[in-house]
């Protein structure tokens, strides 16, 4: 007895979906996750990977099946069936991708919101400006405008760091402690707000383990906020072509336990200024 094709198709489809879910959950394609938003990002990645795997393998399977099943035999010069279209099918493969794409879009909007990407920057940049003004000499307010980036959710106990990118290095300045360093040191569990400026060309600040990147744009200050989760030493990579030594423009972010971070601050703070 032959198994009806509908059942075979159904079983194959279910196996494909299961395989997609397995790939998404058990195949690790991402680096370590070391910030609070990285697991949120990885969630989106898993959804995209599952959908992508099912779609790619499904279409590859159908194309290869067609090539084998419907191949022309030797000496055959007949035509296939004169099927010119099918409205129901067209509606089906318009509607289903539209719904899937809309779902992904809304879902990723939600993810982006949870990362802090939808925070209004213009409303937020008031409080830190007063703090910073006490450290730096007074500047026209346009200098402190935030042109873009990922802001912070809630503003309690933020660690502000000023980042300057130049050909070919990052310089980190802690305005509250007046520390300047070539490496970024942050504690776990405390929100950090980077304010990024460039003096020469565009650079980009990227920490793969935080899943975060922000361009550093001359003339336009940007912001990047994150909360580190896991102690360790992670690379900071410049991701925007900035000249011959672009590939060598790297630094480190060292994530400490809060206690270790306090002792790093004490050890590093300049003794004269207080």
């Amino acid at each position: 007895m032959r198994i009806p094709p509908a059942i075979i198709t159904l079983v194959l489809g279910m196996m494909l979906v299961l395989f997609g879910l397995w790939v998404a959950n058990d195949v690790s394609l991402l680096p370590e996750s070391a910030s609070l938003n990285a697991p949120v990002y990885d969630e989106l990645f898993k959804v995209l990977l599952a959908i992508g795997t099912v779609l790619l393998l499904g279409i590859t399977g159908i194309v290869i099946y067609s090539l084998v099943r419907f191949r022309r035999r030797q000496g055959d010069s007949l035509d296939g069936e004169p099927i010119e279209g099918n409205l129901a099918l067209e509606l089906f493969w318009t509607a289903v991708p539209a719904v899937v794409v809309l779902f992904i879009g809304i879902y990723s909007y939600d993810i982006y919101d949870r990362m802090g990407g939808m925070q209004s920057l213009s409303m937020h940049d008031h409080a830190p400006r007063e703090q910073l003004a006490s450290v730096r000499h007074a500047e026209p307010s346009d200098q402190d405008r935030l042109w873009g980036g990922i802001g912070i959710r809630g503003s309690a106990d933020v660690l502000p760091v000023e980042v300057t990118a130049l050909q070919f290095a990052f310089i980190f300045h802690y305005p509250e402690q007046n520390i300047t360093s070539g490496e970024l040191h942050v504690p776990t569990g405390r929100p950090v707000e980077l304010r990024l400026r460039a003096n020469d060309v565009i650079h980009a600040f990227w920490v793969p383990q935080f899943r975060l990147k922000q361009d550093v744009i001359p003339g336009q200050q940007t912001v990047l906020s994150f909360t580190a989760r896991k102690p360790g030493d992670y690379p900071i990579v410049c991701a925007e072509l900035c000249g011959p030594y672009h590939g060598g423009m790297r630094s480190h972010v060292v994530v400490h336990n809060p206690d270790d971070f306090s002792s790093w601050l004490e050890k590093t703070a300049p003794p004269t200024l207080s």
């Binding site: 680096p31 779609l55 090539l67 419907f70 022309r72 069936e81 004169p82 879009g105 991701a239």
Partner: protein
């Protein structure tokens, strides 16, 4: 339909002053077929230049330190590679090359609407290409700021090379605009009486959509590059933050052209595949009307998604949301096209020719590039992988795994039309096999590199990525080797290939309803009026289609 056209093959008494024989391919010929082949051959020459540049990149990246060329030269090489491949290879070949050769046939005309403009458009390409490549030898070398030429970097790198780059791209953009105007005029105004728009082969629609994009978007790039050159030579401050300029404005203007440029590279390929598949599957193109609408939807959506290249620049949050949704929605009309092609294959009688197999490899690889494209449209996803090797992998799946595979499919499909001779199929399949393996070995691992921390446009990288980079370089080497069977085949078959006859594929589109190669004005008699370019399966089928089931069709063969 074909009977009256496959007549004797006596040489026509060519009364024109145009040179004949090989010489006409080096002349200011006005024949659209000559111009089309000029575009294609010229494009392949630049493809080998761009490929050699890619070879330099992959050799440098075989080790994690910068040791093959100097860092300045490396940046020149990656800039030239991108510019050559986009502006001198893919855009001219899929638009000017196949467009010029095929569109007059498809509308039933004896030439393009403006033959002189057409020849001018082609002859702008070799000088601007040579200008671009020669900039490597001037003081300071070629441009070093990538094919995107973002200021302020492009304002601070050696000026001569950057200015020559701008001049060259302006000339190539001009050539592209002339071509676009010509295609629109030919498709809209030069159709033979009785040929309605909805009877045109799909490639006409693809070229109409592409040409609309070319005419709308390329002038924006030209204006932007003129402002950039003023910033360099006249020290104006349009994009110079030191003089009050705004660098993000440049990015908006640049990508307003350069996202549509992606569609200028892939829409013609979609059109070509729509011509190739029905012929080799012996079935009508599935869903003609939805295919037409999806091309137009891609044209409109393609114009309003440019800021997805700027999710990590200073774009306001609402803009990121809008461009995410708009970009992801392009997947819908694009998906329609892919499902329709698969439905065209389904229950066909597929000749597993090299043209067919390259087209199927295109479908699978482009779907992969499309999936990573939808992922990249999602802001949070893009924030991590923007400007990394993930993006490099993604767009090579689109432009190489997509468009270049279609160019090869098209060469295998139309070579008998161009030359009257057949290509060698086993050599073609060797070419296919090497290209598929080499391409996927080269570019699939790059997605992993990007996800795990390797930025693009670097000459040195973290040593932990060495092995994967070497795998990628081996793939690139295979791609280089894969061009050898292709070249041997194309050059050898021109002299020694078996005679193809006028219509070796038994195709129904109008370019096959004349001699191969066709005479100067395309048809000896009146052009045939082809109302159903995909009318396969309607006649000559001994099985009654109303009563037979699919299974009967496969089993009742001699």
């Amino acid at each position: 339909m074909t009977a009256s056209l496959t007549q004797t093959r006596e040489p026509s008494p060519a009364p024109s002053l145009q040179p004949t024989g090989w010489l006409r391919y080096l002349s200011f010929s006005l024949d659209h077929k000559v111009i089309g082949l000029q575009y294609i051959v010229c494009g392949f020459l630049f493809y080998f230049v761009g490929g050699a540049l890619a070879g330099v990149i992959r050799t440098e990246l075989a080790t994690p330190i910068s040791d093959f060329v100097s860092r300045e030269v490396y940046n020149q090489v990656l800039t030239l590679h991108g510019t050559v491949m986009i502006f001198l290879w893919i855009v001219p070949v899929v638009n000017g090359g196949f467009g010029n050769y095929l569109i007059p046939f498809y509308v039933g005309a004896r030439d393009m609407a403006f033959p002189r403009l057409n020849a001018v458009a082609f002859w702008m390409i070799p000088p601007s290409g040579l200008l671009l490549i020669s900039s490597y030898f001037v003081h300071g070398g070629a441009a070093q700021s990538g094919w995107t030429a973002y200021p302020p970097l492009s304002l601070t790198t050696p000026a001569t090379g950057q200015i020559l780059w701008i001049l060259s791209v302006l000339l190539l953009g001009g050539s592209s605009i002339f071509g676009g105007i010509n295609f629109i005029a030919t498709i809209v105004k030069f159709r033979q009486p009785g040929l309605k728009l909805m009877m045109l082969p799909m490639y006409c629609w693809a070229m109409l959509g592409t040409s609309i994009l070319v005419v709308l978007a390329t002038p924006v790039l030209a204006g932007t590059l003129i402002l950039l050159s003023l910033d360099i030579v006249a020290h104006t401050g349009f994009f110079n933050p030191g003089l009050g300029g705004n660098v993000v404005v440049y990015q908006h203007l640049f990508w307003f052209y350069s996202h549509p440029a992606v569609y200028i590279m892939v829409l013609p390929a979609f059109g070509l595949v729509s011509e190739i598949l029905p012929v080799h599957a012996r079935k009508p193109l599935f869903g003609y009307v939805t295919m037409v609408y999806s091309i137009m939807a891609i044209v409109i959506l393609g114009l309003i998604v440019w800021a997805h290249h700027m999710f990590t620049s200073g774009t306001p949050p609402w803009m990121r949301l809008f461009f995410t949704i708009a970009t992801a929605f392009i997947a819908v009309p694009t998906g329609i096209k892919f499902f329709n092609w698969i439905a065209t294959l389904w229950q066909g009688r597929l000749a597993l020719t090299t043209a067919m197999l390259f087209s199927c490899a295109f479908i699978i690889q482009f779907v992969f590039g499309g999936i990573t494209g939808v992922a990249l449209a999602q802001v949070p996803f893009d924030v991590h992988v923007h400007d990394t090797y993930f993006v490099v992998g993604h767009f090579h799946y689109i432009v190489y795994g997509g468009t270049v595979f279609v160019i090869f499919a098209s060469i295998y499909h139309w070579y008998p039309k161009f030359t009257g001779r057949l290509l060698n199929e086993p050599l073609g399949q060797l070419h296919l096999l090497l290209t598929v393996i080499g391409f996927n070995l080269c570019f699939a691992p790059q997605h992993w590199l990007g996800l795990n921390g390797m930025p693009r446009r670097v000459a040195e990288y973290d040593p932990s990525f060495t092995v994967v980079n070497q795998i990628s370089s081996v793939g690139a080497l295979m791609m280089a080797i894969s061009t050898l069977p292709f070249l041997i085949n194309v050059i050898g078959s021109a002299f020694r290939g078996p005679r193809a006859g006028d219509n070796p594929w038994r195709a129904l589109t109008p370019e096959w309803l004349t001699t191969s190669p066709p005479p100067v004005e395309n048809w000896r008699g009146a052009p045939p009026l082809v109302k159903e370019p995909y009318g396969y399966g309607h006649s000559g089928n001994p099985i009654d289609l109303q009563t037979a089931r699919g299974r009967d069709l496969w089993t009742s063969q001699p």
